[in-house]
Each structure stands twice: as C-alpha cells, then as structure tokens.
C-alpha cells in the first residue's frame, strides 16, 4: 500500500480555525498568482501529512501567492505554503500555513475555509524579466522567492490542486478536527512559467522546520479570475480519506 500520513495532528488542532459550513463562496476578478515549487529533502515523508492523506513521491512544497487589487473585502494578498499530497487517488495540497495582509478577509478565509492564516506583509511584483515575492511577518522577512525569465504558456498548463486545510468543524453538536477540502476555480487571462528561485525561507515561521527545500521544480505566474467555492467535502484527519470523507454540500 502507498505510504500513508502519520502526522500527529493533536498539537495542531487547538490552533486550527473553526469553520462554519455554509454556502459562502468568494469571487475575485483579476488575481495575480505566483506559484513556486520545490522538492523537499526529508527522512520521514509520512510524518508531514495527516493519516487521511498520502504523501506524494517525491514531496513538493508549493508557495502559492495571490494578489488582488480589489475584492468585496478590498485589496489583498495571500501567501500559502502547501505540500503536495493525495486524498485517495486525488491530487491535493495540504496547507501548512498562510499569511494575509487584509485582516477582514483573513477572518473570512479562516472561518469559511479553514485557512490557517496570520497577518503578514506581502509584496508581489511582476517585471518582464522576473516576478518577485517577499513576505514579512512583524517586519521580519520570512519568504523571498521569484520566477525568473518568464515565458508564456497557456492556462491549461498550470495546475493548482485543491487545498486540504486542517480545521475544527461542528459535527453532531461537537467541535471535531476535520480536513476541509478547498476547491477553487480559475479562469485564466494569461500565464507564464519560468525558473524558480528561493532566496529566503524561514521554515520555523511557516510552521514546519522539517520542510527543507532541495530541488527547484518550477515557477508559474498567472492572471486570472478566481472563485473559491463553498466547502463540499470534509474528512476525518485520522483515517484514510477514501474511508473518512463526508460530503457536506452538493453545490
């Protein structure tokens, strides 16, 4: 059988967002998205994801950064650190942590989709020869990454697997740990890819010191319209997703 996750979620549950399942969806037009992927070097792959998920071979971390000049919550930038995984046979990314520069939106992202998000200052700047991103927390640099030498590709070439967010969800009147599946839709206006560059990554600040970037994989930049759909699936983090997935909405 494939390697199954063995991450002990108990230390993470207290800090996990409390999600209220509703029909909330978020539509944002004209979002810039930078994704930078690196293989990581790790001895114990299974220990990085909950038992519900399977680690991929190899494991890849994704820095996924959104920037929107406007939304119903105002302009925002959101930076996520995710880890490639599988939910049964489905490609997914397990969210380690996120930073957002819009407090109102951060509260919504946590309460509706289980984003483990904290405040941060995020810069995403696109040039013709590169795209640069930096993230600061309390004035301290915690991420600096870039896409170098962009060349056009199509939106079909770019993939952002759904997120799997550890959260607390009320089931049968009791607050229980659950992984919330976050499905997003993207309508691409343009897309580029390029060489990834990672000049600073504070692993501890992002929540898991074991994530040591090793081999650069790819970087992409896209401009698109984004919809974060309402939550349709949650799963019990302690058992394989193929057994512990619950459908909570048909929409």
């Amino acid at each position: 059988m494939p390697l199954a996750g063995s991450l002990d979620i108990r230390p993470l549950v207290d800090g996990a967002p409390e999600v209220v399942l509703d029909d909330h969806e978020l539509k944002v037009d004209d979002v810039d998205i930078l994704q930078v992927l690196y293989e990581i070097r790790v001895d114990d792959r299974e220990a990085l994801v909950p038992p519900a998920l399977n680690p991929t071979i190899p494991l890849v971390i994704s820095f996924l950064v959104y920037r929107a000049k406007e939304s119903v919550y105002g302009p925002f930038a959101l930076a996520q650190l995710r880890l490639t995984a599988r939910s049964g046979v489905r490609p997914r990314c397990y969210l380690i942590s996120a930073r957002c520069d819009n407090p109102e939106l951060a509260e919504v992202l946590a309460g509706s989709w289980g984003f483990r998000v904290s405040p941060g200052e995020i810069s995403l700047r696109r040039f013709h020869d590169r795209v640069d991103c930096s993230v600061h927390e309390d004035g301290r640099l915690i991420l600096q990454t870039s896409l170098v030498d962009p060349v056009p590709v199509t939106g079909h070439d770019v993939q952002y697997p759904p997120g799997m967010h550890l959260a607390r969800v009320t089931r049968d009147g009791v607050l229980k740990p659950r992984i919330v599946q976050v499905d997003s839709e993207y309508v691409f206006r343009r897309a580029d890819r390029g060489r990834p560059e990672l000049t600073h990554f504070d692993r501890q600040a992002w929540g898991d010191a074991r994530l040591v970037p090793d081999i650069p994989v790819s970087a992409s930049f896209a401009a698109c319209d984004l919809t974060i759909a309402n939550v349709r699936y949650i799963c019990n983090p302690d058992i394989p997703a193929s057994e512990g997935t619950e459908k909570v909405s048909d929409a």
């Binding site: 390697l3 190899p58 890849v60 049964g88 993939q159 992409s220 997935t245």
Partner: protein, 377 residues
C-alpha cells in the same frame, strides 16, 4: 487477436530482503506459463525510482531471463524511455540487438518518453525535450541496426562513423512500437510506421475513432524503419474464473490497486507547466476507469474480468473496435495469490483464447509487417 501479459514488477511494502526476488520469481513463473499456454507477448516496463509501483529498472535483463526460460513467446520492451539522460540510443540499439539474438529473434521494441516527475527529474531530463528526443531515437535506432556503419549529426546527439554491434537477428530489424497515452500520439505512431502500444483503456467510441485514424494515416506513412508495423494493441486487466463474482472481485483488486498506486506518483504535468505533456499519461486514465479502493467495487464496460464468457464478450467488443490484440495486467502489488493468477491464465488460455485464434500462432511481427519499397527506409 493477439494476447500479451504486461509486467510492472511492483513490490509492496513492507520490504524484506526477499521481497523483490519473490516478485521477480513470480513474474518469471507467469511468463513460463504464458509461453506454454500460447500467449503472444510478454512486455516489461522500464521505470526508475517509482517505489512499490514498479521495480523494473532493468527490463532488458528481465526479458533476457524470460527469453532464456521460454521457447516461443515474444519479449517486448513496453517501453524504453527515449530520453538521452536515461540512456544513449546507441546503448538501446546494442542491448536490444543482444536481446533479439539470445531470444532467437523474439524482440519487440516499444518506445516512449516517461511521464512522471520523479523519473524525469531523477535523471535531470527536461520534460519539454522528451517528444523531440523520442523522435530522434526512433529515427536512428533502425538505421543503427541496419547500416553496417553508422554516423549521425543530430540535434540530440552526434557520433562519428562506427559499426554498432551486434546486429539484431530479425531482418531487417525487430518491430518497433510507441506507447500511446497522450492524445495525438497515435498519429505520431501512424506517420512513422510504428505499432500502437496502447497503455490506457478508453471508451469504445473514442478508441474506435483513434484506431480508424491510425489505420488511415499509416497507409500513407513515411516509416522510420525498414518496414511498417501497423498493429494496434490495447491494455486491460485480466481475471478469469468460473465463479464470475470472484473473477470480477479479484480483477477489481488489481485494477484498483494499480490505479491507487499510480495516483501517488507526481506526473510531470502536475508540477511543470508544459505543452509537452497534454495529458498526465497512462496513470490518470486508468485511475478514472478503475476507481479507487474507497469506491464501491464496480466493473466498467469492456473490462476483461469474470467468467470465460464475460472475458470473451469484452474481447469481442475490443476486437470490433479494431484492435489487433490486448495486453493484460493480471497482477499488481501481489494483491491476489500467485496460484489464482496462474489459474486465471490457464482458464483464459483454455476457454477464451481459442475463440480468437485462427490458424497458426503468431510468427515474427517483422515478417508480418508491410515492407517498405527499396530506397525508402
């Protein structure tokens, strides 16, 4: 119809000192039986670094053992990655020729280009280049086999004039194939006069359209080799038992495990934005078709599982689509007992195979292929 068995050589955890040996022993026992029963082909994949999923990184050595332990079955690379970081085309031509000689002229050479990130990145290969390097490989290999001395000044590699030795036993050379997973590769196969080694079962309508297109185009192809191999083979999961429920249950175990394990691998397409891989290859297609261990067990149309009649009905349907044969995945991750696998093969050979075999057994595919007019190759 022709029938083959397809070997991934998957090794389930927990691994012991003996795990891999046992999988190889089981596989060789299946090959010996397949030979006795009249199966036409044994195909071995070439994969690297794919933990559990496939420990078949030296297929020519495995196929050499198959050839040594059998008399008639044809031994096929299914497929050799035509990526220079994996191996030089010179080494492919040389080693394939050796295998053809020691097998008594029973080699089939399947070609492909890899689709997984662990493999491509493990060899530091550029996924954007693999279509191009595959094309150069398939053009030069038959020349290396047929020209007394060969030189090349190409995009991927160059070499001064040398005699590439030995030459294959089959004349003019062994049949060549290409793995067809991405949309449009059947067109590449047809245009180059290569056999179509289907690795991904699709729906009947879609398959029929692809086969028809292949047949039409290969009639006017410009072959890369000295003859046209115009066969089209597909792949399926085999589990044949008098108890149809047991047959389907065990077949679905294999199919589900295959799909589940394949899904754990990172495809090149998933992590690298590239035009070079329009689909994610073999794996997602099979994943869709065969479901997952979490799904309720269910069969899908055209699957070769169940009683001999069930299996024969499915084969008839694929034959009507236009396929010349089917290669079977009949074991994966040792999820069903070896004895069941062997019994399933025997029952298939006794009850099903004769319904689709007419006349003599398959001879050299090269001999059956369409010759190329002098001066074309």
């Amino acid at each position: 119809m022709e029938f083959g068995i397809f070997m991934e050589l998957s090794v389930p955890r927990p691994w012991t000192a003996d795990s891999e040996r046992q999988v190889y022993e089981n596989a060789l026992e299946q090959v010996r039986l397949a030979d006795e029963l009249g199966f036409d082909y044994v195909w071995a994949v070439e994969h690297h670094f794919l933990e559990e999923y496939s420990h078949c990184s030296g297929p020519d050595i495995f196929l050499s053992a198959c050839a040594a332990q059998t008399k008639r079955i044809r031994v096929g690379h299914g497929v050799i990655p035509c990526v220079p970081q994996y191996q030089s085309p010179i080494r492919v031509a040389e080693r394939a020729a050796v295998l053809d000689i020691i097998s008594g002229g029973r080699l089939e050479l399947g070609t492909g280009r890899s689709a997984t990130w662990p493999e491509l990145s493990g060899f530091n290969a550029d996924p954007d280049e693999t279509k191009k390097t595959w094309d150069e490989f398939v053009r030069v290999i038959p020349k290396m086999w047929t020209q007394e001395r060969f030189s090349w000044d190409g995009r991927m590699f160059s070499m001064p004039e040398r005699a590439i030795l030995p030459k294959p036993l089959q004349k003019p050379h062994p049949p060549m194939w290409v793995a067809v997973t991405s949309p449009g590769t059947e067109v590449d196969a047809a245009d180059r006069g290569l056999g179509c080694l289907g690795l991904s079962p699709g729906g009947f309508a879609d398959s029929e359209k692809k086969v028809l297109n292949y047949r039409k185009r290969i009639e006017v192809c410009d072959p890369v080799g000295a003859f046209v191999n115009d066969k089209v083979l597909t792949v399926n999961f085999l589990s044949c038992n008098e108890d149809g429920d047991l047959g389907r249950r065990n077949g679905l175990k294999v199919a589900s495990m295959f799909s589940y394990m394949a899904a754990q691998l990172l495809s090149a397409k998933e992590v690298l934005p590239t035009h070079s891989y329009p689909s994610e290859g073999l794996l997602p297609a099979l994943r869709r078709e065969s479901g997952s261990p979490g799904d309720a067990a269910k069969s899908f149309k055209g699957v070769t599982m169940g009683t001999p009649d069930d299996v024969a009905d499915a084969i008839t349907a694929w034959e009507n689509v236009g396929f010349d044969g089917i290669n079977f995945i009949h074991q994966f991750m040792e999820v069903i007992p070896q004895q069941y696998v062997l019994d399933s093969m025997r029952l298939f050979a006794e009850e099903v195979m004769p319904r689709f075999k007419t006349g003599t057994t398959t001879g050299s595919a090269a001999a059956a292929g369409r010759p190329v007019p002098a001066g074309v190759a």
